[in-house]
């Protein structure tokens, strides 16, 4: 009996100790664990940012007329897919593949090592943040895809589908990667100028909006947007509930966008960025709604949404650089800017979703706001630039921010204008007037997004079943039988 007990104790001890011994010998080190935690956070954040595509989809579709609702779906899917492959092929290498002043040169098709330490010689950022190279590429790609999605907001309801395809390749393989290298990837604006842009008010949002401006200048307004007297007329979108869904999905996605840009979960810094982001967005909604109420005495659905987006865009650059108290101020100013921006821009340019204001003007404001509100603690933590005017009394950082904004705006505008000009001269940028009146769904996708709304029931039902001997069945017999058989065997 005793012998058995001893033997049992010994064998239990061996069983318990064996894994511990293995762990000490070749199991994950603390460094591995930190890398795994951070990689997990970056992938979770990247997945949230990917979901912002659904936000853009619903926002644009809701702001479109029903006859153009289906095209938005295929547009988002196509653009996201083109960007996915182009960014993997060349985009990531240009943006992060080395510390060159203008662009990176290593890591085409992510041909680097599988761990951060193996890949750090090609991708210097991985030497600082020890996450999986694939996680870094995925996270940066979804940013590129957001920027590309922003471009098209100004162009909906009249641009040719083929224009999307051509510009999407050039944008995600070349334009976005090179400019993001300057500010995110160790290029000259980040290193030499000390420009602060935590998650991309300029990199993602201003680049996208500027591309949209270039397209819009060559595209012109939708038919019927301006009356014979030249005054803008409202062309109401077909679904405010879809707009609301889009705004809330984008808001949710922003909790990956800004906090994920910490590229790290250790220390919990990302949680503070979540709160900063949320405070700004809330202030943006309240500010935009209040300004509109003063003007029209109505609670404007579209402007409340634009206020949220503008504030989220604005807080994107400073989200990692400012303390909590500054966030509602930055968001509220963005909410005011977007209302007046939409109203003023609409007098001359037809921007159906307000992208030029919500992403462009708010992106400029957000980037500049770093130069005012960046705190000494966070400038030091991020090791980019100096504290803002509020703390330092110096205009130095504000000047660095302004230089970055002006450079990015000018270059993206010129390059994008050239690309869209070439498209316009060759295959054409705009559908015909007849196609625009009929709607892009029927002209470009071949079918309405809401068929029952446009096709009479008589045409949808068709000629019915061939006549048989007995009384006509109420249900299409063949279909039902197949469905039931399928269910039984499944």
């Amino acid at each position: 009996m005793r012998r058995t007990a001893v033997a049992a104790c010994v064998s239990l001890g061996v069983l318990l100790m064996a894994p511990a011994a293995a762990l000490a010998a070749d199991g994950p080190t603390l460094e591995d664990t930190v890398s795994a935690v951070n990689t997990t956070w970056v992938i979770v954040a990247g997945v949230l940012v990917m979901f912002m595509q659904a936000g853009f989809l619903f926002l644009e579709v809701g702001f479109s007329r029903a006859k153009n609702a289906g095209l938005g779906v295929v547009k988002i899917l196509t653009n996201f897919s083109i960007a996915a492959i182009a960014y993997w092929a060349t985009g990531f290498a240009l943006a992060f593949g080395g510390a060159g002043t203008i662009a990176g040169t290593n890591g085409w098709f992510l041909d680097v090592g599988h761990t951060a330490s193996e890949a750090a010689s090609d991708i210097p950022l991985l030497g600082v943040v020890g996450i999986s190279p694939a996680a870094l590429l995925f996270f940066q790609f979804v940013f590129c895809a957001v920027s590309l999605a922003i471009v098209w907001g100004t162009t909906i309801e009249r641009i040719k589908f083929s224009a999307y395809v051509i510009y999407a390749v050039i944008f995600s393989a070349l334009i976005y990667p090179v400019l993001s290298h300057w500010i995110f990837g160790g290029g000259w604006l980040q290193v030499n100028v000390g420009m602060q842009d935590f998650a991309g008010s300029t990199v993602v949002h201003l680049i996208g909006a500027t591309g949209g401006l270039a397209a819009l200048l060559l595209l012109g307004p939708r038919r019927g947007k301006y009356g014979p007297d030249g005054k803008p007329r409202a062309i109401p979108g077909h679904s405010m509930p879809l707009v609301g869904l889009g705004v809330l999905i984008l808001w949710l996605g922003w909790f990956g966008f800004n906090p994920g840009s910490t590229l790290s979960a250790i220390g919990g810094r990302f949680a503070e960025v979540v709160l900063v982001t949320n405070l700004a967005a809330a202030a943006g909604v309240i500010a935009a709604l209040s300004v509109m109420y003063r003007r029209t005495k109505t609670y404007d659905v579209g402007m409340a949404g634009n206020g949220a987006i503008a504030a989220l865009v604005a807080i994107t650059a400073p989200s990692g650089y400012v303390e909590f108290w500054a966030a509602p101020i930055i968001g509220a100013v963005a909410g005011v800017i977007v209302v007046y921006g939409v109203i003023l821009i609409e007098k001359v340019l037809d921007d159906p979703v307000g992208a030029l204001s919500a992403h462009g003007l708010a992106g400029v404001w957000g980037t500049l706001s770093c130069g005012i509100f960046t705190s000494p603690r966070l400038a030091e933590l991020n090791a980019v630039g100096d504290p803002g005017l509020w703390y330092s009394g110096s205009f130095h950082q504000l000047g660095a921010q302004a230089l970055g904004v002006a450079t990015v705006f000018a270059i993206v505008l010129v390059v994008s204008y050239a690309v869209f000009f070439a498209i316009k001269q060759t295959i054409g940028l705009r559908v015909t007037a007849e196609e625009e009146d009929a709607g892009l769904d029927i002209a470009e996708t071949g079918m309405y997004g809401y068929p029952e709304q446009f096709i009479p029931p008589s045409e949808l039902i068709g000629p019915g079943l061939p006549a048989t001997g007995g009384a006509p069945s109420r249900a299409p017999a063949g279909v039902t039988a197949t469905a039931m058989t399928g269910e039984a065997t499944a």
Binding site: P451, I455, E459
Partner: protein, 127 residues
């Protein structure tokens, strides 16, 4: 009294409405209709299958005027609705036996068009 009925393209309506209003004919009704004529069917595509849609969306205008005004109303509609392509639509003129303004009970030609005074708003813009 005559009723003018016209089946037109949607985009022709706004200029017609504006010109008729200017000429003192503010009263008309429109209906969204679908119809077939000499315009070809549109072939629509859905996940690889086809659907031929023979009916096209048009706008139907109805407008009752004094017999002497028919020529003028016809002229305005034809001027704006004619593009010269198949699918411009058709216009019909029908005799009308009676006309009554429901609010006051007045009847006859007096109730047709040419209202006294300016456009009236009831219950603000929501009326």
């Amino acid at each position: 009294m005559k009723m003018v009925i016209a089946y037109i393209r949607h985009e022709a309506f706004e200029p017609i409405r504006a010109d008729l209003l200017e000429a003192g004919f503010p009263s008309l009704s429109i209906t969204e209709v679908k119809g077939s004529g000499r315009q070809k069917a549109i072939t629509e595509h859905y996940r690889g299958s086809e659907l031929a849609v023979h009916l096209r969306p048009k706008l139907k205008i109805e407008c009752v005027v004094e017999s002497k005004d028919v020529g003028m109303v016809k002229e305005v509609i034809l001027r704006h609705a004619r593009t010269g392509s198949v699918g411009d639509g058709k216009l019909f003129v029908l005799p009308v036996e009676e006309a009554v303004r429901i609010r006051t009970g007045e009847d006859g030609e007096a109730v047709l068009q040419a209202h006294e005074g300016e456009e009236v708003s009831v219950n603000g813009d929501l009326g």
